[in-house]
């Protein structure tokens, strides 16, 4: 990781005192890591991370973690996590491999999205940096692997990856070589609704309106029809008219 030193003022504050829970958060924010990645950086489980975060002003119990965090903050050159490339960094090498490859891919501009296990539309989003969502963890790692693969193994390595992606797609009932494949999510085949089947839709947000006239009275026990009603989809049925209470089963 190529990092510069954190803010000098914040660093000065750390020099004369022992590290505390809040300093781990500072390390995470400075490195821009997720909690899981920061835990890997420090070699501790996520549970331990939350333990320290709940005690921001207490000393870090494990002196090893405190020494490590301090060393990482003051010596950015000693960081050891790999730097995952962005899509923009990998894209030129991908395009070159694609041009030289004997395995054609439909809509090659967006096929990279499928090759890293996501949908076609995500490539443009990642390249332009638009959208709220960050690149998922597995995809960032796959981009690094793709970069190494292209660098070390060239076009044969790339073709092997395309072949494998096609195999994985076929195992999921998809065809990578079809322009119709836009995503790895397989949609269910279209099935027309039976004539008498209930309409599908969102379940009601709240229950049916309560009859104010029946307040204070004992509610009707649910009939089999109304018992299953909440699990059904579609518009709620009208409540059946009030019936006399059923005979007591204990009699």
């Amino acid at each position: 990781m190529a990092l510069t030193l954190p803010d000098e003022h914040q660093l000065d504050a750390l020099r004369g005192r022992a590290l505390r829970g809040k300093d781990l958060l500072f390390l995470r924010q400075w490195t821009g890591l997720s909690i899981a990645d920061c835990c890997y950086l420090l070699g501790m489980p996520v549970m331990r991370w939350h333990y320290y975060q709940r005690r921001p002003d207490q000393l870090i119990e494990d002196a090893g973690v405190a020494l490590l965090a301090r060393a990482l903050l003051t010596h950015p050159e000693a960081h050891y996590l790999p730097a995952f490339p962005t899509v923009a960094e990998v894209y030129p090498a991908y395009q070159r491999a694609l041009q030289q490859s004997a395995t054609p891919l439909p809509e090659p501009d967006t096929a990279l999205g499928l090759l890293v296990g996501r949908d076609r539309a995500s490539v443009r989003r990642w390249r332009t940096g638009t959208g709220q969502r960050q690149i998922p963890g597995p995809v960032r790692r796959l981009l690094l692997v793709l970069q190494i693969l292209l660098r070390h193994h060239g076009v044969p390595g790339f073709e092997a990856l395309v072949e494998r992606a096609a195999f994985e797609a076929a195992a999921r009932g998809l065809d990578l070589h079809s322009p119709a494949m836009k995503t790895w999510t397989r949609r269910k085949p279209y099935r027309p609704r039976a004539p008498n089947a209930p309409r599908r839709g969102r379940p009601p947000k709240s229950g049916p309106p309560v009859d104010t006239t029946s307040q204070g009275q004992e509610r009707d026990p649910p009939s089999p029809a109304t018992e299953t009603a909440p699990s059904r989809r579609g518009r709620p049925r009208k409540r059946p008219p009030a019936r006399p209470p059923p005979p007591d089963s204990s009699l």
Partner: protein, 246 residues
Amino acid sequence: MATTPIPDADTLHLDLENRPVCGQDLLFLQQWYKLSRLDMCYLLGLSDLKWCHYTHPKHIKEPLGDPAVALLVWALVRYPDTFFLPAFPTPQEVYPLYERLAEQSAPQAGDDAPVHLGKTTFSLLLGREIGSASRWLSPTNAKPITPTVSRLLFVLKSLLQAHGAPGLEEWVNCAQIEARERGLDLTGKMTSWFRMDARPPGKSGRRRKAMKSPATQSAPSHTPASKATTTTPPDSPPPSDPDSFP
């Protein structure tokens, strides 16, 4: 980066040519690279929950839900040179460098007496108790180190290689700052990061027989006896630290 040969497909049942990547392959990959769960989750970019889902006996034979993870596993199996986790050094690799630089420098812990840089201080500088280095460096039965210590070794090695003796002095000063706020003193008889040796001077080499049971009397011990009442096992992180797996 680790230089691991291609996994033996027959041994590990990694017949990935004929089937999609399944949950069991994550376990095989873990076994092959000798990684912890923490390492595997970082390697594949998975949360702990997702790891448990994929490796659950119920789902172990199913293709992975995320095709990115499936392709990642395949690439790591097929092309081991794409393995990107850092290779952390062992204590055996770092200790000679530390020892050489320790001879050249006499770090002052603040404005006090110099710290004696021996094997015991090596353990303390890595956040562990004084007997740890002897166990790590044992030629016959070297004990495994915790993930935090392996990372500390990486950083310490980089620092010593880049800055030499001044780098070691800086490290000692940092450790002294951490120790002082815990009420400890690196220059004194600090036995671990939780206690000082409270024995009167001149009795540091003796062992208290009263503390030992007949069963443990015959067993060799690397830990000097201490009057401290805590019964923390050697080389253990804080009492509540779950970070105690090897």
